[in-house]
């Protein structure tokens, strides 16, 4: 087993316990690997870096929202790879590229390279958020974008603390769906 796998899996396990610092490091490191992966795949079919960045963000969001589907008894790499590849195929399908254009790859490929030079993605989260229900908008904005605590957000949005959490959870899912739909051809 590679050190990358061991390190990242340790971060994942800590993040599942609710350790925010580990979660952040994990997403940062995964986003660099995903960027290298998507740039490589999209370059092969003549697509640009900003599209790769859209995919990186879609995949990071998916990893965050779907982290309950990771089974700690399994290695992390194949799980990340399956999500990364799924999002790639989904994106190509949306943009009417045939699935046959997706190169066959191995799970390790998604962890093989590191690329920290991020491009700006094409979507604007604050604009997309305006399509969400008011409660979700307020909760996500307060906690995720403005960095307030859950208690502060509850006061600002006039919701209970548990309602803030629920609205963030549902809101991020809805946001991920919007991003998936918005990513341009």
């Amino acid at each position: 087993m590679t050190t990358t796998e061991t390190d990242l899996k340790a971060l994942m396990l800590a993040s599942l316990q609710g350790d925010a610092a580990s979660h952040r490091t994990l997403l940062e490191r995964l986003s660099r690997r995903l960027r290298a992966y998507y740039k490589g795949k999209l370059a092969g079919i003549g697509r640009g870096a900003s599209e790769a960045e859209d995919l990186v963000q879609e995949a990071v969001l998916a990893i965050h929202i779907k982290r309950h589907t990771y089974n700690p008894a399994e290695p992390l790499t194949p799980w990340v790879h399956a999500i990364a590849r799924y999002k790639l195929i989904d994106c190509l399908r949306r943009t009417r590229t045939s699935r046959a254009d997706v190169p066959i790859d191995e799970a390790d490929e998604v962890m093989a390279h590191d690329d920290h030079i991020g491009a700006e993605s094409t979507f604007d989260v604050r604009r997309l958020m305006q399509q969400l229900p008011q409660k979700m908008q307020c909760a996500i904005e307060a906690v995720k974008l403005d960095g307030l605590s859950v208690a502060e957000a509850a006061r600002r949005c006039s919701l209970s603390e548990s309602a803030v959490k629920v609205n963030i959870h549902r809101g991020l899912k809805a946001l991920a769906a919007l991003i998936a739909r918005e990513t341009p051809a």
């Binding site: 700690p72 991020g118 700006e120």
Partner: protein, 213 residues
């Protein structure tokens, strides 16, 4: 937006996550689907009148074993397929075993009977009822299973859909068997097996559309 900003946003207030959630949610869906299929059968069709006779019990046990085998094997598959990358570690071969067993038994039972009786053994009294009931009863468990799978993250939507269809078909056959009085093995192989395969194909067709995330 920059990816770093997204990462920062997502890392604000991270909640602990329960990794056993997928298995538990699927178990709940399975139980709820089975209960609803059973309820639908009781209200719509009713249990067979001779349920308690020794002959009925024996044939019923065979049918139930067939359907329960499918439900058991297919739900193990489905729980794996619900997680990203699960399709790489899941073989579809075991789910074929109950079908193979029932076809083999049906062939043996046909072999032991004069061919003039084959027609009646295969068609039974109520083939049409069986053909309609199993897929109709399967709709509710199918919806519940798909709802549960959607909340996980399947990455092979066609196989996950097919597997959900197979589980739903199996649950439905389990419920329908309590009503059905056609006991010949060839009947079970053709009409139970056939309608469950039909449910599986429907699931495979609907999977990519219903399970996208």
């Amino acid at each position: 937006m920059k990816t770093d900003d997204l990462v920062t946003a997502l890392s604000a207030h991270v909640e602990p996550v329960d990794h056993r959630w997928v298995g538990r949610r699927m178990g709940m869906a399975l139980a709820a689907g089975a209960a609803m299929a059973l309820g639908l059968m009781l209200v719509g069709l009713g249990v067979r009148a001779d349920l308690m006779t020794a002959r009925a019990v024996m044939f019923l046990a065979l049918k139930l074993a067939f359907a329960a085998g499918i439900v058991g094997l297919a739900s193990v598959c489905l729980i794996r397929l619900a997680r990203p990358g699960g399709e790489r570690r899941t073989s579809s071969i075991p789910v074929v075993l109950p079908f193979a067993a029932v076809v083999l038994l049906a062939a043996i039972s046909l072999g032991l009977t004069p061919s003039s009786h084959w027609d009646k053994m295969v068609m039974g009294e109520q083939w049409l009822e069986c053909l309609l009931s199993i897929p109709v009863i399967a709709i509710v468990p199918f919806a519940v299973m798909m709802w549960a799978v959607r909340q996980a993250a399947p990455t092979d939507l066609r196989r996950a859909g097919a597997c959900a269809g197979l589980v739903a078909g199996g649950i439905s056959a389990l419920a329908y068997a309590l009503h059905c009085t056609d006991d010949s093995l060839p009947f079970v192989a053709v009409w139970y097996g056939g309608t469950i395969v039909l449910c599986t194909l429907t699931g495979a067709i609907l999977g990519p559309r219903l399970l996208r995330w």
